[in-house]
């Protein structure tokens, strides 16, 4: 039963290892969970799943593997192995009580009786001394006081409650292989972090101190190095307006996440494609424009270039001078993108359009080619691939 849970989990891409499975066995052996399904659920989750994003998958698998338990609770004619009851009785009953059981005709008799009455009885029953129910003197049922009684259904509700815990699927929104949240973006962007020593020398450099002290004839000569900082610099170009309006929210999230992530982050907006001007404040886009040349001259080539846009437009907007929908551009967008890519060799294009649909749009294909294949979908996975490309 447990091995099935283990293999089902692996099948559901929750990477539980043998070591973790053995740990679960060890914990079961040490009686960490008190034999209740709910506690077993918590225990196996704490042992086998190490990421809250996989909790939902675990819930599904657990419900699937142990769905028999639920029906056990409802199906009262389910067979209870006789040996269990006998062992239990031997352990808990006093000698006197055992004698009374014998008076009924022994265990076999008791079990036969139970089966017979279960078949006879159709309705819920309380009180009385024959039928199975609660608070009666019949040998069967819960909360009774017949020493020969077999407890039925008293612990049952616990199962049902336990099943609910994983059936509620509370961790569904943490499974974010599809949706892009601020947290995901942050984690993906963190891949970019590069630490390097720059700035004021504040930290003691021990190996160098020892070396230079030795050179100094044994007299202490302290050497300091600058502290390590994140040195990644990023230029962010965001497409705004028009066909991007659908994706504005996603882009804003990306942007807000990126804001706190790097020490040097410069961002610019453009519309559809990059031409001779970009701007920083979308509301004042016609007053405060920044020539793209200035951008390229201001920021050195060690900046990483990230362009976010859907690249969905008329092909003329990319390929021909004057193709822009907003103004007359002397040079084609293609040339401008090329210039940017020459200045910033480390560059990617993030596209909010689903990857499957890329082949349907000509302009998108052209941009993809211009980028040299470095276009990635705006999903967690795509960001991850993009960041890998950038940190190469």
């Amino acid at each position: 039963m447990f091995t099935e849970l283990f293999y089902e989990l692996r099948k559901a891409k929750v990477s539980a290892s043998l070591k973790e499975y053995l740990a679960l066995m060890e914990a079961m052996d040490a009686r960490v969970a008190n034999m209740s399904v709910e506690e077993f659920y918590y225990l196996s989750r704490a042992t086998l799943v190490k990421d809250e994003r996989n909790f939902d998958k675990f819930d599904v698998v657990f419900g699937h593997v142990f769905k028999g338990l639920e029906s056990l609770d409802q199906d009262r004619t389910a067979e209870i192995p006789e040996e269990w009851l006998r062992k239990l009785a031997e352990l808990t009953l006093t000698e006197e009580e055992m004698a009374e059981v014998e008076a009924m005709g022994g265990f076999e008799k008791l079990m036969e009786e139970l089966k017979k009455r279960l078949e006879e009885q159709q309705k819920r029953h309380q009180g009385g001394n024959k039928w199975i129910g609660t608070a009666g003197r019949s040998p069967f049922g819960a909360y009774g006081y017949n020493p020969e009684g077999v407890r039925i259904g008293q612990e049952g509700s616990r199962h049902r409650r336990a099943v609910k815990v994983w059936d509620r699927r509370e961790y569904k929104n943490l499974d974010d292989t599809v949706e892009l949240g601020t947290r995901n973006i942050k984690i993906a962007l963190r891949r970019l972090r590069r630490f390097a020593r720059e700035g004021a020398a504040l930290e003691l450099d021990l190996p160098d101190t020892v070396r230079s002290t030795a050179n100094n004839g044994g007299y202490l000569d302290l050497k300091l190095v600058p502290e390590r900082h994140n040195t990644v610099k990023v230029l962010l170009f965001l497409d705004i307006g028009g066909s991007m309006d659908d994706h504005t929210r996603t882009c804003e999230e990306l942007f807000s996440a990126a804001g706190s992530e790097f020490k040097h982050l410069e961002y610019f907006y453009f519309h559809n494609f990059i031409y001779e001007y970009v701007w920083r404040d979308n509301r004042r886009r016609h007053q405060e424009r920044i020539p793209t040349w200035d951008v390229m001259h201001t920021y050195a080539s060690d900046y990483k270039l990230i362009i976010v846009g859907d690249a969905t437009m008329s092909p003329y907007e990319i390929a021909y001078p004057g193709g822009s929908v907003e103004h007359w551009n002397e040079e084609s967008g293609q040339i401008w993108l090329d210039r940017l890519l020459t200045t910033y060799p480390s560059a990617i294009w993030l596209n909010p359009v689903t990857e499957r649909h890329w082949t349907y749009t000509q302009s998108l294909q052209m941009t993809h080619q211009l980028m040299g294949g470095r276009m990635f979908p705006l999903t967690v996975d795509g960001l991850d691939r993009g960041m890998r490309e950038l940190s190469r």
């Binding site: 225990l43 042992t47 190490k50 947290r183």
Partner: protein, 282 residues
């Protein structure tokens, strides 16, 4: 030695199972969850509950695994050698014990808290694999192996800033502290402010969960913020009626500074409040 929560800490059933598994099997417990849901408090409360000494190791971005084991203070040895100090002949005088060493040599079974492990360098957890597995390490300078007298109960907290390596995760139990539901939240507040008027609590919780529902907040208020806010409400003696009537005059809850920690959030909330008021025509 079972942990069942304390007078000042409400533990849900799943948390108890995870903690007890970690205590019984002597493996580290990795705790994740939204900021302010009591990850760090857990270790402190467990130490209190089972009357064990608590050793805290707070991780920073510059912390190295070696810092937790020991450091060799070569510079002061060099200085001592130049001053002719007698101590210089024994290298053991210059070994500075780290938090793990401290925990391993503790006479009673200690609780070791490794706080915010995700702040450290990506290699940090990998460098502690063997140490946490066998609870021993080797000191090269003195050729000594430090073994734990009692395997410490290790709690590790993470804020999810970095993914932790698989090899490390396999050695831990894992628990994710979910944001408490209303029922649990009432228990938590009750534990901290036992004498609180029921209707004040219920109004405060209404507002609190309402704020958490507001879309687009940069930082959602969490348990610790709620507790601070209620403390302020009690200190200022604000009556439940004021909380309830807020949709008439001011839509922003009183003393909101404890709940909203970001001025953009406050602005957004004010804007939403203003719009709501305009719609209702007051």
């Amino acid at each position: 030695m079972k942990f069942t929560g304390t007078d000042s800490y409400v533990a849900t059933e799943d948390l108890m199972v995870a903690v007890n598994a970690a205590i019984t099997l002597q493996r580290p417990l990795l705790v994740k969850g939204e900021p302010g849901t009591g990850k760090t408090m857990l270790a402190i409360e467990v130490a209190n509950a089972i009357a064990a000494p608590l050793i805290e190791w707070h991780i920073k971005s510059t912390t190295k695994a070696q810092h937790g084991l020991y450091e060799y203070d070569a510079v002061s040895r060099l200085r001592d050698s130049q001053l002719g100090d007698e101590r210089v002949h024994d290298i053991a005088n210059y070994i500075i014990h780290g938090k793990l060493w401290e925990a391993f040599e503790s006479k009673e079974r200690p609780v070791l808290l490794i706080d915010e492990i995700d702040k450290a360098d990506i290699e940090f957890p990998n460098d502690l694999l063997l140490e946490l597995d066998r609870m021993e390490f080797f000191v090269y300078e003195t050729k000594r192996t430090i073994q734990s007298v009692h395997r410490p109960i290790v709690f590790i907290t993470s804020n999810n800033e970095k993914e932790l390596p698989d090899a490390f995760l396999r050695r831990c139990f894992f628990h994710y502290i979910r944001f408490p539901d209303r029922e649990t939240m009432e228990q938590i507040v009750d534990v901290h402010y036992p004498g609180l008027k029921r209707n004040l609590l219920s109004e405060a919780l209404n507002i609190f969960f309402e704020i958490r529902e507001v879309p687009g907040l940069k930082k959602k208020p969490s348990t610790s913020e709620l507790l601070d806010w209620i403390k302020l409400l009690v200190a200022d003696d604000i009556s439940p009626e004021v909380l309830r009537s807020r949709d008439m005059k001011t839509l922003i809850p009183p003393l909101h500074g404890a709940l909203l920690k970001n001025e953009q959030d406050v602005h957004m909330f004010e804007r939403l409040a203003f719009m709501a008021r305009r719609e209702s025509g007051i």
